[in-house]
């Protein structure tokens, strides 16, 4: 039994945007795997809901003319994980998708909900950060496309304007083409758990040199972050164990880890280094390089 006062279930995106424009106080619900938990705990008591569940057009995953891969905000993680397009071009996103919860959760939890929920532990977020993904946001009158980095405002806070819906996640061609990737979800359990640390790495290696490297971290700071210093350092460098280790060491720099009862700052920073090293080494292998053992 949920404490809600109204429920709208529009059949089209236009309708949904119109309803939201008129009632900006409505709480958007997609798969509900975050919203329903908050309702159950009473923090959304008495809310009115706008459900996106009938907006099937927003579940599509397609490649646009310019090579951008567009993942509809309502695509559940099972769909993403099983998508041939994603498997072919962005396998690292499959890794992130399948690390989510368990099968039942993945069947209903959407990528849009994962991002809009604003959790720093969101498993898709660090990978999308590393992929230089963009977000397409729409209101009944407006549309804007912004980088992931501009969307996260703080723990559980995102820059979603009143009346705005996330409609698609866009992964530009330069974000994924020719890149090897690896996502390590470090959690206490192998399923049904929230990441203690998420490390997403994509990289391009040609003739044993880093052409490009991007690292996204989840749960390393109040919002998902990129490791720009480590990335800049890598560019043009030969792939050697020493370089990979230095990348990992630099990856710790932007982190703002803190101590909580879940893990200490010390441990978190140690993990960033250890896991960044492992993730880069694996991404190098997948990206056509080899990192001499």
């Amino acid at each position: 039994m949920f404490d809600i006062c109204e429920l709208h279930e529009p059949g089209t995106l236009e309708e949904a945007k119109a309803i939201l424009a008129e009632n900006p106080g409505l709480k958007v619900i997609a798969g509900g795997t975050d919203v329903l938990i908050r309702l159950q705990h009473g923090s959304l008591a008495g809310a009115g809901l706008l459900s996106l569940k009938n907006l099937h057009a927003l579940e599509e995953i397609v490649m646009l003319g310019d090579g951008t891969i567009s993942v509809g905000a309502m695509a559940p993680f099972t769909t993403i994980f099983q998508s041939g397009l994603i498997r072919r071009h962005v396998p690292v996103l499959c890794e992130a998708a399948v690390s989510m919860g368990g099968p039942q959760v993945r069947n209903v939890a959407t990528i849009g909900g994962n991002i809009c929920n604003g959790a720093v532990s969101a498993d898709s977020a660090s990978t999308l950060f590393a992929l230089d993904a963009l977000l397409k946001l729409e209101t009944s009158t407006d549309e804007r496309i912004i980088p992931m980095g501009d969307f996260y405002a703080g723990p559980g806070k995102v820059n979603l304007r009143p009346g705005e819906l996330l409609t698609a996640v866009l992964i530009p061609r330069e974000g994924y083409e020719g890149m090897g990737g690896h996502y390590i979800k470090y959690a206490m359990r192998k399923a049904m758990d929230i990441a203690t640390l998420g490390v997403a790495v994509v990289c391009k290696v040609r003739e044993d040199r880093f052409v490009d490297l991007r690292i996204g971290l989840g749960v390393a700071a109040p919002v998902p972050i990129r490791c720009f210093e480590a990335e800049a350092y890598a560019k043009g460098k030969e792939v050697t164990p020493e370089v990979v280790q230095e990348i990992a060491r630099l990856a710790v720099k932007p982190a703002k880890a803190r101590t909580s009862w879940r893990a200490s700052k010390d441990y978190r920073e140690h993990l960033i280094e250890v896991l960044a090293q492992r993730a880069v080494a694996e991404a190098v292998k997948r990206g056509g390089g080899c990192c001499a053992d």
């Binding site: 359990r189 280790q245 893990a263 200490s264 250890v274």
Partner: protein
């Protein structure tokens, strides 16, 4: 001995009902006009309720009743699921009210609401105004015993529930005589049962004015007594019904929700009220496993002979006694019939603190003490430079051993064979050699640990079991037992015993799986791994009685003497010739309808079992340690058990799978955490409390060494709790083997492992060549 059905993997009787969803659990029953009960819980760890204002809550439409301790009889009662003791000195501590007027932990129930639906009830909870006088609180047993510490209960100075202990021999003298005296400190954490089905009951007042409680419980007859005691009713005015239950593990060997559910119904004029806890509530206001601190001091000779041991045990029982000191005492009793110590001094203390209440949980104190002892033995072996298995072998008791305190006699002892089998299965010697001199970031290690356990509680408590059999017209039988099927498979095992004795196929034995205290034979219920052993004896006795009666009727028909006949596969045969003389159905029909001699064949017996049998076993485990992240994974695990005759191998394996997975959770991941400032639970949900998922659970291997236990029916001994005891120390010893780092506390949570590894200098070895 040759058996037809005992020893076979008969499909469990409830398998189809459970997988098809036909099995009905407490929450699947509905009554007309059913109301919902909810509870208001204290936000303070220790606080007196100063004043209450229920008017706003009562005024909310849809609310049927709102009440606090002030509206209830002020009767203190004990909740532990033990048989009643006629000796007042032997009773459980009576320290509980249905709702409390003084909160003793964050989450203590102070008020209740009964409403038309859950949402209304929750809204009403927010409208209850309570003024508290907040008191200082204590969270650790050490703090609770300090002078000037806040007292939780008036009549327990120093917050000590009990410090009763036992000893034999002269341990101090052994310390003087032995070559070495080795000491060690070991600690376990608060864990929870995490049964799938919540704690749930519904109650109503029937047309005769009796209180009827349906509950997910392991102990219906005890629930009846305690509900009556808590409400001040004659015991006969309470009826308790137990349908299928979705796991208990000891948490439901305690009376937690039933008195309140009954009080809710009484407050609502006798209307049916359901009180079902949320998972978050189950974590804080049911029971947990006692966190224990143990100091072990052992007198040992250079050749490894263990001479004496002094065990000091500090048990944190939380805010109310529940099973209290019984659990510490149980711990102290289990290792004695395993290792032949010349002297033992066992000094336990059970202490109140302002934490959720600890109670019975699978193993009943034994996993804690064996974590300490089996870790300690490996530490001793290292100190003395002796192989850990040799050290153990050297000190084992022998068949015929009699415990100097309980006087229980060991009649079957399969430990030597368990050790041999475990070593062979895991390829101990070969792997030990392969693991020498590891340097890298991933290391393997081997560990093992032994355990001993009992079958039931004799001589500590009454072991009474009832069984009733009615033979139907077709020769099939219906069996009723007071013992409860809680998922462990006891109904199936009882059916096998009955079928074996009566020469029936399993399909001809119908077991009434619901217990109803108005109808069901008396039995104290599912706990202490007692049912196959204790109730099995009653069931066998009942079946033998039916067999005798069948053969008497057959004798009337055939003119043969009963002793000349046997029942085989629903037929009466003349034993010597193997000749069929009549069908069992003929006999049953005679018994029902013979105009002169009709008397249906039934038996209604009970067994007061005044004997115990020790069960044994060992865990052998190989771990894979990720030195850099602090994660320990089980690469291979074997639990080898001596539980006497295995009546149903597949069910026995199921017990081992469940028990080992539970133990591995406690060894590696699970612990309830509390805010050290406020005492509030930090992780009372299944996201933050790291119960392992199936992906975290390794393949669990079970093996059995079948001894024959003269005391048990068909030679069987206990198994239910056994598998949960030895895995944690075995894993700990394996990590020691892999890394040289000795852990003294479970769980081996990655954060803690990381800290210890860094302290030990293992992380400095992280180097580039492992990229």
């Amino acid at each position: 001995m040759d058996h037809n059905i005992v020893g076979k993997s008969v499909t469990r009787l409830d398998a189809v009902a459970k997988v098809t969803g036909k099995a009905k659990y407490t929450d699947d029953f509905f009554e007309r006009d059913m109301l919902v009960g909810k509870v208001l819980r204290s936000p303070h760890a220790h606080a007196v309720v100063k004043s209450v204002d229920l008017s706003r809550a009562r005024a909310l439409p849809g609310v049927a009743a709102v009440f606090t301790a002030l509206d209830l009889p002020k009767i203190k009662f004990a909740t532990a699921g033990h048989p009643w003791s006629l000796d007042p000195g032997h009773r459980d501590v009576e320290d509980r009210l249905i709702l409390t007027d003084k909160a003793r932990f964050v989450g203590d129930a102070v008020a209740a609401v009964v409403a038309e639906d859950a949402l209304t009830a929750e809204k009403a909870l927010r409208l209850i105004d309570i003024e508290y006088e907040v008191l200082p609180h204590v969270l650790t047993a050490e703090d609770a015993m300090k002078e000037g510490a806040p007292l939780l209960h008036e009549n327990r100075p120093g917050n000590v529930v009990s410090s009763f202990g036992v000893q034999f021999g002269d341990v101090e003298a052994e310390f003087g005589r032995a070559d070495h005296v080795i000491e060690g400190d070991y600690e376990t954490s608060v864990v929870q049962h995490c049964h799938i089905e919540s704690m749930s009951a519904f109650a109503y007042v029937d047309a005769d004015g009796r209180v009827v409680v349906n509950s997910s419980t392991q102990i219906p007859h005890i629930v009846r007594r305690i509900v009556a005691q808590a409400l001040g009713l004659p015991w006969g005015r309470v009826q308790v019904i137990k349908p299928y239950i979705g796991g208990g593990f000891g948490n439901k060997q305690d009376v937690v929700v039933e008195p309140l559910a009954a009080a809710m119904s009484l407050a609502a004029g006798g209307r049916p009220v359901r009180y079902c806890m949320t998972r978050e509530e189950v974590f804080i206001d049911t029971r947990t496993r006692h966190a224990m601190k143990l100091h072990l001091k052992t007198a040992v000779d250079a050749d490894g002979t263990l001479r004496g041991i002094h065990v000091q045990l500090l048990s944190n029982t939380g805010a109310y006694a529940s099973h209290g000191h019984s659990i510490a005492m149980s711990a102290g009793g289990k290792f004695r019939p395993l290792y032949d110590f010349a002297s033992v001094k066992f000094e336990p203390k059970t202490v109140y603190t302002n934490l959720p209440v600890a109670g019975a949980m699978r193993g009943y104190g034994t996993p804690q003490i064996f974590f300490a002892l089996e870790s300690h033995l490996d530490d001793i072996a290292r100190r003395l430079g002796i192989d850990p298995i040799e050290l153990r072998r050297k000190n084992l008791i022998k068949v015929g051993h009699q415990d100097p305190l309980t006087k229980n006699v060991v009649r079957s002892f399969g430990i030597p064979q368990c050790i041999e089998k475990g070593m062979e299965l895991i390829r101990w010697d070969e792997k030990r050699r392969a693991h020498l001199d590891q340097k890298g970031p991933r290391r393997r290690g081997l560990g093992m640990a032994l355990f001993a356990y009992a079958s039931g509680t004799h001589p500590v408590a009454l072991e009474l079991a009832g069984a009733r059999i009615v033979m139907n017209q077709d020769g099939s039988v219906t069996l009723q037992v007071g013992a409860t099927e809680i998922g462990q498979g006891s109904d199936t095992v009882f059916a096998q015993i009955t079928a074996e004795v009566l020469g029936l196929p399993i399909g001809m034995v119908h077991v009434v799986t619901t217990q109803d205290t108005d109808i069901t034979p008396f039995d104290s219920g599912a706990y202490a791994s007692r049912q196959t052993f204790v109730t099995g004896i009653a069931v066998r006795k009942a079946a033998m009685e039916v067999r005798d009666k069948v053969l008497e009727v057959a004798a009337r028909r055939t003119g043969l003497a009963p002793a000349e006949m046997d029942i085989r596969d629903c037929r009466i045969v003349e034993t010597a010739l193997g000749r069929v003389v009549c069908s069992l159905e003929d006999v049953a029909m005679d018994a029902y309808y013979d105009r002169l001699l009709a008397a249906p064949i039934t038996s209604d017996t009970s067994a007061n079992v005044r004997i115990n049998a020790m069960s044994y076993g060992a865990t052998f485990v190989e771990v894979d340690v990720d030195v850099e992240t602090g994660k320990v994974e089980v690469a291979e695990i074997w639990n080898v058990h001596d539980s006497g005759t295995i009546i149903n191998p597949r069910l026995a394996e199921g017990q081992v799978h469940g028990g080992v997975s539970m133990a591995l959770g406690a060894a590696l991941l699970e612990q309830m955490l509390f805010d050290p400032q406020t005492g509030k639970a930090l992780n009372n949900n299944l996201l933050d409390y790291k119960l392992p998922t199936i992906l975290d659970t390794p393949r669990i291997n079970a093996a059995f060494v079948e001894t024959f236990e003269a005391a048990g029916s068909f030679g069987s001994k206990s198994l239910g709790e056994c598998p949960v005891i030895s895995p944690a120390p075995a894993v700990r010893n394996a990590v020691l083997d892999a890394t040289g780092v000795a852990f003294h506390k479970i769980p081996l949570y990655p954060q803690v492992v990381f800290e210890k590894f860094r302290e030990a200098g293992l992380l400095a070895q992280r180097s580039v060549d492992h990229v």
